[in-house]
Amino acid sequence: MGWRVWERRKGVAMAHDKETAGDPVRPLDPPPLLRFPVQQHQGKPAVPVVKRGDEVRIGTLLARADGPISAPVHSSVSGKVKAIEPVLHPWGIWSMAIIVENDGEDRWEELPPGIKDPESVSPEVIRQRVQEAGIVGMGGAMFPAAVKLAPSTPIDTVVINGCECEPVLTCDHRTMLERTDALLYGMRAIRHAVGAKRVILAIEANKGDAIRLYRELANVYRDFEVRALPARYPYGGERVLVPAVTGRKIPPGRYPDSVGVVVHNVATVAAIADALRDGIPLIRRPVTVAGAAVAKPCNLMIPIGTPLEDVLKAVGLRERPREIVMGGPMMGITVASDDVPVIKGTSGVLARTEAELHHFRESACLRCGRCVDACPAGLMPTMLARLSSRGLFDKADELGATECMECGLCSYVCPADLPLTQLIRMGKREIIKKARAGRGA
């Protein structure tokens, strides 16, 4: 792979390796056994409402939301609840999960009636339907979408994130090309729900077909704008995206709503449209399956709860993967086992071979400053990493360690092969832990 790095504006231009960009999303048949973790969102875990032996259908509620910052979980197949037990979760934790045996009959639960025009109902109805559909941020953050539709501060701009700045991943790109109706509907619904004046669809310049398509649509409908952004990582990160699109900088420790902006990923927008227009809860999502171990990289519409083992079996493996990354190669996380299921935030499944891996072989920092140039948060990664590794967390905090968005660029560009992001992440955790303890005291 020929990675090239050169500096201009924020972040770094890197090889995109988006070889599946021309590959339409095909549905994946659900496997015989699915695992639905109750934690597929940020916030409190959902509470199971079914018990062992219960019959479920496609769309049946398996676990209800627990409080406002939570999200329910629905079955993506019809069949029987086999067990409710802890399973290995993508985050490397054990999470309670509802295990469903698929009867293969594809019977659907009775769905709530569809809403033809999102502007014909009140914002409250939209929020409630999105909440009940269990929709979370599908770019990977998995923050409950309904919370972002009920802003506590006035919102004037909705930014729809179609950047997909992570290399390899193309599922958002395909969603934009294939689900035009859903996106137009979803954008309208979100704008109505938050009462915003403007909707801006942000797309990185490497997706020319999507930019052209939506520019034409914007000329027809005139209720949203399209903004092409440089194809540089990490333009899809909120803290880079929002200033680039709106010119408003998000203060440290705050979220886009503090500057009157709400950001939704394109896959989330499509899911919101499915929930409102057709009453379908979030039970499947587009996923890019790639990596050198995969025989033929592709985009699949995968039922939530499908174990990775079944995904990889379906696409065919060329060789045994050495590492499986969920998400993109920059910010994705490795999973400890292929038992782990696809969850609502899974944008990619990368089955990688030894030849693809990068092992950090730390050598002396040469103070070249490449990490400083690359850092989209304007920090000094080499210094923060050194402070973190020496346990000098207070000093790292003073130098803004908590403003790090963990995009991974400092590690990516480091010629001395230092795991800078990894060290800063560790320091950040310690600082936040201390801050919490301080508040508690």
Binding site: V5, V335, P415
Partner: protein, 319 residues
């Protein structure tokens, strides 16, 4: 640095999947690739040096590189560190040092320069990444003060007859009668510094490769030219002569000894340009580039501290 965070944890022996924190990919650059690229970018100027000054020039380069690499190996061995000569850093120091030496310097002196540059300039301070001063320039400074006569004997290209370098004429008259010779390099001077065209070609290649930050060479050359204009001397002669281009593209841009922030790089570069011209115009020595760089190397930790980006400047537990 701590070894724990990047450690790879083996779990699930059945699947034997690796679990490691992201990012999971890396840019195609390493310390070694960077060093070797810099060495490659110096080869045009090295070729010109051999063409102009003959085999003695090649001998000086070989002796200086040998001194640097042997000392590197001995120091790493004595410090019980892995002997990583193939990272190319010692070879680069040796080559850069040779570029600053007279082409007919006795070989043992060139060798000794390499020994001092690496031994005192680099390992005495903790080795790769820890040295405050450019090791090649430390070696040259040592040779300049120890062997004043051989270090100021400048053979003419092709015939080897010794004479004054263009800097002497420039110092006297403020300009130079044969600017074209400064571009091609067919003039007296240090082994690798004479050919402007070879140095600029190599330097631009490094900028395009992303190894050298353009701010430093542009800052140094720009400051020197502006200073010369204001002082009423010929800016073109001052930029093209002596070690200015070699220093601007290859010495001052040393990663370890230059500031890490963009703002810091500008301050550093302007400082070098000003000091170079002050030495050239008003000090006893005709040339000042290497001392200007060493002085600004010394100021680098301070510049880094002054220009340190702090994020918002207040942490979550902040004061």
């Amino acid at each position: 640095m701590a070894k724990t965070t990047a450690q790879i944890v083996e779990t699930d022996p059945g699947a034997s999947l690796l679990v490691s924190p992201g990012p999971h990919i890396h840019a195609p650059i390493s310390t070694q690739s960077a060093m070797l690229t810099v060495i490659a970018s110096l080869l045009p100027a090295a070729g010109v040096a051999v063409y102009l000054f003959g085999w003695p020039a090649l001998g000086v380069m070989v002796a200086s590189i040998a001194g640097a690499m042997i000392t590197e190996a001995l120091c790493l061995w004595a410090r019980k560190r892995p002997i990583l000569l193939w990272d190319g850093s010692a070879a680069l120091t040796g080559l850069l040092l040779a570029f600053t030496l007279p082409p007919q310097l006795p070989l043992w002196m060139a060798f000794l320069g390499g020994v001092v540059g690496i031994g005192i300039g680099k390992h005495a301070f903790g080795g790769l990444g820890s040295n405050p001063f450019n090791p090649a320039l430390v070696g040259r400074a040592f040779l300049t003060v120890s062997f004043a006569a051989p270090m100021s004997t400048w053979p003419r290209p092709f015939d080897g007859v010794t004479g004054a370098t263009p800097l002497v004429e420039i110092a006297a008259t403020g300009t130079y009668s044969d600017l074209w010779s400064l571009v091609t390099g067919a003039t007296g001077g240090s082994l690798g510094e004479t050919s402007a065209v070879a140095l600029v070609v190599g330097g631009i290649a490094l900028i395009l490769k992303g190894i050298v930050d353009w701010r430093i060479p542009v800052g140094i050359i720009g400051t020197t030219a502006i200073f010369a204009l204001l002082a009423g001397v010929d800016p073109i002669a001052h930029v093209l002569s002596g070690g200015l281009l070699l220093g601007a593209f290859f010495m001052a841009t040393d990663w370890v000894t230059s500031p890490i922030t963009r703002k810091g790089k500008w301050i550093f570069a302007v400082g070098i340009g000003v000091l170079t011209m002050v030495i050239r115009l008003w000090a006893a020595a005709p040339e000042g580039v290497s001392f200007a760089i060493l002085l600004m190397n010394g100021a680098t930790p301070l510049i880094n501290m002054m220009t340190r980006p702090k994020g918002s400047g207040k942490g979550v537990n902040g004061k």
